[in-house]
C-alpha cells in the first residue's frame, strides 16, 4: 500500500519536474515515429486526395484542377468496372475458400496431439514463402500442355484445362493459388481461437446430450469461434483485395482482361502510364474500400458478445 502511495506521489513529483524542465522527454521518444507517420502516411493521403481532383501527369509542367472529372470517368470506365468485378469475384472465392478450409483444418489439426506441430509447419509454409517464386511454380504446374496438374487430369481421362488462357477460368486458377497461400494463416488464427474455448463447455454440452462430433461443432465450437471467424473473414478480405503478385507474375491481367484486378490497374495507371490524376482517384476509391472493411471490423468487434 505504502509503496503504491509513494509511487503515486513520485509520479506527481516526476510530472511536476518535467513541467519545470520545460520539455517532456515523452516528446523525444514519440517524435521520430510521429514525424515518419506524418511523412509516409498522413501527407501522402492528403496529397493523393488533392491530386485526384487534378489532371496532373508526372513530368508535365502545367496542370489544373478538374473537379470530380476523374471520379466521373472512373464510374464510366469499362476497364475499371471490369477490374472491380474481377476483384470482387476473386475476393469472394478466396475468402470463402480460405476461411472455411482454414476452419476445417484447424478443427482437424486441433486434436492430433504430437502431429499438430508437423501439420502447423506444413500448412504455414506458403505464408512464409515468396509468392513471386511460388507463383512461377504454379504457372508451371498448371501449364496446359506440360504441367503436372494437366498430366493428372489427362491421365484420369478428362480434357486438359488451359487454366491461364481461358478467360472464364483464369481468375479461379488465381483464386486457388490465393487460397493455397492464405489457408495456413487462417488455420493458425482459428487454432488460437479453439485453444481459447474452455474445456468445461464441452463437458457441459455432453451432460446436456450434445457429445457427438457435429453436436460439439455446431453447439459449442462454432458459436465460440464467432469473434475469431469475423476477424479471420475481415483480414482475409483485406488480403484478397490486395491481390497483385500472382497477377503480375502469371497473367498480367489477361486473357482478355479477365484477371485485371484493382491493384494491378492501379499499378499500371500510376507507374506505367503516369496518369497521376486518374490513378489518384483510383487510389482514393481503393482507400475508401479498405476503410469501409476496417469500419465493419470495428463495428463487428463491438457487436459480438458471448456471455
Amino acid at each position: 500500500m505504502s509503496s503504491l502511495a509513494t509511487s503515486e506521489a513520485f509520479s506527481e513529483d516526476h510530472r511536476a519536474r518535467q513541467k519545470a524542465d520545460g520539455i517532456n522527454p515523452a516528446y523525444l521518444f514519440a517524435l521520430p515515429a510521429a514525424t515518419l507517420l506524418a511523412i509516409v502516411v498522413l501527407a501522402p493521403i492528403g496529397i493523393v486526395i488533392g491530386l485526384s481532383f487534378s489532371d496532373y501527369s508526372l513530368g508535365a509542367t502545367d496542370w489544373s484542377l478538374v473537379g470530380i472529372r476523374n471520379y466521373a470517368n472512373l464510374a464510366h470506365d469499362r476497364s475499371f468496372l471490369n477490374a472491380l468485378s474481377n476483384t470482387a469475384l476473386y475476393v469472394c472465392v478466396v475468402v470463402s475458400g480460405s476461411v472455411l478450409l482454414g476452419l476445417l483444418l484447424a478443427i482437424l489439426v486441433h486434436g492430433t496431439g504430437r502431429m499438430r506441430r508437423v501439420y502447423e509447419v506444413i500448412f504455414f509454409l506458403p505464408v512464409a514463402s515468396t509468392l513471386v517464386a511460388l507463383g512461377l511454380v504454379w504457372k508451371f504446374m498448371l501449364h496446359s500442355r506440360v504441367g503436372p496438374v494437366n498430366e493428372l487430369i489427362a491421365a484420369l481421362g478428362f480434357q486438359r484445362i488451359d487454366f491461364f488462357n481461358n478467360p472464364s477460368i483464369a481468375i479461379f486458377a488465381l483464386a486457388a493459388i490465393g487460397v493455397w497461400h492464405l489457408v495456413g494463416f487462417n488455420m493458425i488464427l482459428f487454432l488460437a481461437g479453439l485453444t481459447g474455448i474452455p474445456r468445461d463447455l464441452y463437458q457441459a454440452a455432453a451432460v446436456d446430450g450434445a457429445d457427438g462430433f457435429w453436436d460439439r461443432l455446431f453447439r459449442v465450437t462454432w458459436p465460440m469461434l464467432g469473434p475469431t471467424t469475423i476477424f479471420v473473414t475481415i483480414t482475409s478480405t483485406i488480403t484478397a483485395f490486395q491481390v497483385f503478385d500472382t497477377v503480375a507474375v502469371i497473367t498480367h491481367g489477361g486473357p482478355a482482361g479477365s484477371t485485371e484486378v484493382i491493384l494491378h490497374q492501379l499499378y499500371q495507371a500510376s507507374f506505367q502510364y503516369f496518369e497521376t490524376g486518374y490513378a489518384s482517384a483510383l487510389t482514393v476509391f481503393f482507400l475508401i474500400i479498405m476503410m469501409a472493411i476496417s469500419a465493419v471490423q470495428i463495428f463487428a468487434a463491438r457487436g459480438v458478445h458471448y456471455s
Partner: protein, 290 residues
Amino acid sequence: MTSATRAVSLDKPAGLPLAPIFAAALKHGLLLLCAATILLPFAWMILAAVKDPADIFSHPFSLDPATLRAGENFGKALSAAPMGLFMLNSLIVVVGVLSVQLVTSIAAAYALAQMKFRGQALLFGLVLFALCIPVQVPALPMYVALAKLGLLNSYFALMFPWFFSAFAIFLFRQHFRTFPQEIINAARIDGFTEIEIVLRLIVPSALPAIAAFSVFSVTAHWNDLYWPLIVVNVTDRMTAPLGLLNFQSAEGVSYGPLMAAATIITLPLICVFLLARRYFVEGVTMTGVK
C-alpha cells in the same frame, strides 16, 4: 435426463471401438491430402531445379540420379542473373527496415504506454488510423516525391515507406502497458534515465513480442514485390522477388534455372521459418488479439 442415459452417452466411444479409429483415419487422411497439396509446389520447384530441363516434361515423376543437373541449373541461375546481388539487396533492405522500425516503434510505444504527454490520445488515434492504410495508398505521392528528389533506384527509396510501422507501435504499446508502473517509478527514483528504463527493463520483458514482430517484418519485406517494382528499374538495386520476375521475363530462360532461382530466394526464408516457427505463429496470433 436420467443418470443411465448420461452414463451411456459418456461411454459411447468405448462402446463402438471401430468408430473412433475410422474417424481418426478419415481425419488424418484428409489432413495428409491437404498437406500434400500444400507441399506439391515446393516439391516441384526443387525437383525441377535439380533435374535436366528435358526430363522435367518427358519424365515428370522420375528422379534418376544419372540425369540430375542441379549444378548446371543453379550455376545458370547464379550466372545468368546476379541472384547473389539480389539476395544481398533484399538483405540490406530487410535489415535496414527492421532496425529503423524497432528503434522508432519501441520509443514511441514506450511514450504511449508509460509516459504522459499532450497529444498522446491524438497520436495513438493516428496510429490506429494508419493501421488500416495499405501501402498502395501513399505509394503514388511517395513515388512522385522520390522521383522529384532523384532518389529512385536507391536503397533509401526501397526502405523509406516501411520505416514507420503502425503495427509495431500498436503491438509494442499493448505489451509495454502490462509492465508494472511501480517498477518504472522505482527505477526513476534510483536515477535511471528513461532510455535506460527502456533498454534494461522494458525491452527484455517484451523480447518475445519483439522477436515475433521481427520475423513478421522480415518475411513481409523479403517477399514484397509491389514497392520494389515501383522504385527500382536498374539491375543493381533489384531485390530478390523483383530480380526473379525480371529473370523470368528475360529471353530464353528455361524452367530448370528458373526453378533453381526460385528455390534460392525461397530457401532462406523457409530456414528462418523452421528455426523461428514459434515466433511466426505468435506473430500471426498477435494480429488477432486487437
